[in-house]
């Protein structure tokens, strides 16, 4: 990455004014003079958050409610609304606005108190007391009640307007964050074409927060190999990319689909296939390959046993519920190194919620002979003579299967290494950041990136990149709020904002309830 950058501006040809210079690229810490000499325009903003997705939003929401004015904060992002990336990913993975998401009623990214919960709101709006019964009896007699995606987006929009989100938004791509001699940080931004006279602009801040979401998506290696070799991006797809062509094709003629992965995305894709089958009277055959086939309750002892069956591990949310505030949160907060990694392993693993509707559909599929769950590892995928896809699947018992399909949908949702993201790669290389026991970015209990302190400033991070820290539930709405609260309280300790006690919290809640702009 760096050699290439250096080639663009080799030392003997002066870089055009307003761009990064070899001197800047080579220095771990920058002084104000160095930045001025490069001719890059510089703007001061005390608090800057990078990303502009859900993580940035909830952090700004907390700080606005704690009392920071919009003039003190900016968010740099390549998207227009905080839910844009989330909505794209949910839509691809078969959760349109009318469908229900995974997280529960009190995970409300538009409301720091989580009260009233989405459940109460939808009960009131839809005049459906049955939701209350479900909330009362979840997860014992009923599935967890979860909100519609549309409910989440609408309430986010309301809150974003209320806190003046768009007054703080700066469009652009962040290239890197470097420490400043004397304290604080420089954030280098590439503004959209034509939006600024120079190629880059720089923000000088005391505090920077990184919430850039997923570093990138990773495909299963055998599928990636097939895609590159045959230049075929139509038949072997990832569930997180648009793949409507699969469902459209199946409406035109009977076909077979191979599904890979045992998480919630696989459940969603299955639901879509089953729904379409019923709605349009289709003949779709589904082969579902689980690398780890869970056939029942599993775990080392009676106090650590998760439900499972038919291939799946069942769990309401992506981690056991108590990681967001109960016993597991308290335990993990104390663990370091190998012990922490072991605890992650114990409670981790791919899983999906047990939903009664999904169970019925799968039962019908198994007995109707059109849904075939199998255990196996795929050695390779090849094209058959008639242009279809052959998967070479080896099961644990030695049996080799070779299902032929029209499409393969990768639902494993593998995430790329954090160093695939330029900002993290740069931080690891130049700013003292390092990896945690599971290989991602190591952060403190208050989400400051370890090793990156700079004078009286601090660099924070939240979201998926920080998984493996003292708090496991990072990549969820509630987890992003847990992080935001820790960050806001840390900023209060540093005198940037006043800590919020019970009285102010209550009066702020009334402002939220009456939609009073801040």
């Amino acid at each position: 990455m760096y050699p290439r950058e250096a080639q663009l501006a080799p030392p003997n040809t002066p870089a055009p004014a307003g761009d990064l210079t070899p001197e800047l690229l080579g220095a771990a810490e920058w002084s104000d003079q160095m930045v001025a000499a490069a001719g890059i325009p510089m703007y001061d903003i005390p608090f800057l958050t990078v990303g502009g997705g859900m993580g940035s939003f909830v952090t700004l929401d907390y700080l606005r409610i704690y009392g920071v004015p919009t003039s003190q904060m900016k968010v740099v992002s390549n998207i227009d609304t905080p839910w844009q990336t989330y909505e794209f990913l949910t839509r691809c993975s078969q959760i349109p606005r009318s469908e229900r998401i995974r997280s529960d009623s009190a995970s409300r990214p538009d409301n720091i108190w989580g009260f009233p919960s989405y459940g109460l709101q939808e009960t009131w709006k839809d005049k459906t007391p049955a939701y209350l019964w479900q909330l009362l009896t979840e997860p014992l007699l009923n599935d967890y009640w979860t909100p519609r995606a549309g409910t989440v987006f609408e309430s986010l929009e309301r809150e974003a307007k209320r806190i003046g989100y768009w007054d703080m938004l700066v469009k652009g791509q962040v290239r890197m964050v470097r420490r400043r001699v004397g304290g604080g940080y420089f954030t280098v931004v590439t503004p959209p074409e034509g939006a600024a006279p120079t190629k880059r602009i720089i923000f000088r801040s005391r505090f920077v927060h990184l919430a850039v979401g997923y570093p990138g998506l990773k495909f299963l290696p055998d599928l990636q190999e097939f895609r590159t070799k045959h230049n075929d991006y139509q038949h072997v797809v990832n569930a997180y990319e648009p793949h409507e062509q699969v469902y459209e094709f199946l409406k035109t003629r009977p076909g077979t689909v191979v599904i890979r992965g045992g998480g919630i995305v696989a459940s969603r894709v299955l639901q879509r296939l089953f729904d379409d089958r019923k709605k349009y009277g289709l003949q779709t055959q589904i082969v579902h390959i689980f690398r780890t086939f869970v056939s029942g309750s599993h775990g080392p002892h009676i106090w650590a046993r998760r439900k499972g069956g038919d291939g799946w591990a069942y769990q309401g949310f992506n981690y056991p519920k108590s990681v967001w505030g109960g016993q597991l949160k308290a335990q993990m907060r104390k663990l370091e190194g190998a012990e922490r990694a072991a605890k992650y392993k114990e409670m981790g693993g791919t899983n999906t919620p047990y939903r009664r509707h999904w169970q019925e559909q799968m039962r019908a599929g198994r007995s109707g002979g059109y849904y075939h769950p199998v255990q196996g590892t795929v050695d390779r995928v090849e094209r058959s003579k008639d242009g279809r896809l052959v998967s070479y699947v080896r099961s644990g018992d030695g049996i080799v299967r070779e299902p032929v399909s029209d499409y393969i949908i990768d639902c494993t949702g593998l995430e790329a290494d954090i160093s695939e993201h330029r900002i993290f790669a740069d931080l690891l290389q130049n700013s003292g950041a390092h990896r945690n026991p599971v290989g991602r970015l190591e952060v403190e209990r208050h989400f400051e990136v370890k090793g990156t302190a700079s004078g009286d400033g601090a660099l924070y991070a939240s979201g998926s990149a920080t998984l493996g820290g003292y708090f496991p539930g990072v990549d969820t709405f509630l987890g992003l709020q847990v992080a935001a609260q820790e960050i806001a309280d840390d900023l209060a300790r540093r005198g940037f904002v006043r800590k919020m006690g019970p009285l102010r919290s209550t009066s702020q809640w009334f402002k939220w309830a009456f939609n009073t702009p801040l």
């Binding site: 108190w113 009260f115 109460l120 009362l136 056991p320 505030g325 016993q327 919290s505 209550t506 809640w509």
Partner: protein, 145 residues
């Protein structure tokens, strides 16, 4: 809120001392039973509340132990409501048997009305409104301190 052990105990004591006391002050004059001076009835009702708190510490230890059998280490909303049955019954029989002799026997109707109303109010507050003044409470397993 998904509780830790200390969070359970703290939340119980805090909510009984606030919501429990307020509800008791409001409800005692309305409870059925023989006409007795209001002051004495108040003292007795508050002592019952105290007994719920003290016995509750032991109950919470039991609940915490039972929670360990749950993979998610969570405590569903419904449990928080239904535990009123064993707790109410135990206290009721202790009072009837005279084992807690500093509390005067109360008519069953009055006891159950008082106990149930307090329980439901505490449960309702713990399932939502508590988060309004105390924004850190739910992330700390119910610890107030």
């Amino acid at each position: 809120m998904v509780p830790t052990l200390s969070g359970r105990i703290q939340t119980r004591l805090f909510l009984l001392a606030t919501v429990g006391v307020i509800v008791t002050l409001l409800i005692v004059p309305l409870l059925p039973g023989p006409a007795r001076p209001l002051g004495g009835r108040y003292v007795n009702a508050l002592l019952i509340l105290l007994a719920v708190a003290v016995l509750g510490v032991v109950w919470e230890l039991i609940y915490h132990f039972l929670m360990q059998f749950r993979w998610e280490k969570d405590w569903p909303t419904l449990f928080g409501l239904l535990t009123l049955v064993p707790e109410g019954l135990l206290l009721y029989f202790l009072l009837r048997s005279g084992a807690v002799d500093f509390i005067d026997p109360v008519p069953s109707a009055a006891f159950w009305m008082h106990f149930t109303v307090v329980w439901i109010c505490v449960w309702l507050v713990a399932n939502g409104p508590m988060r309004v003044p105390f924004i850190r409470w739910r992330f700390r397993g119910g610890r107030v301190l």
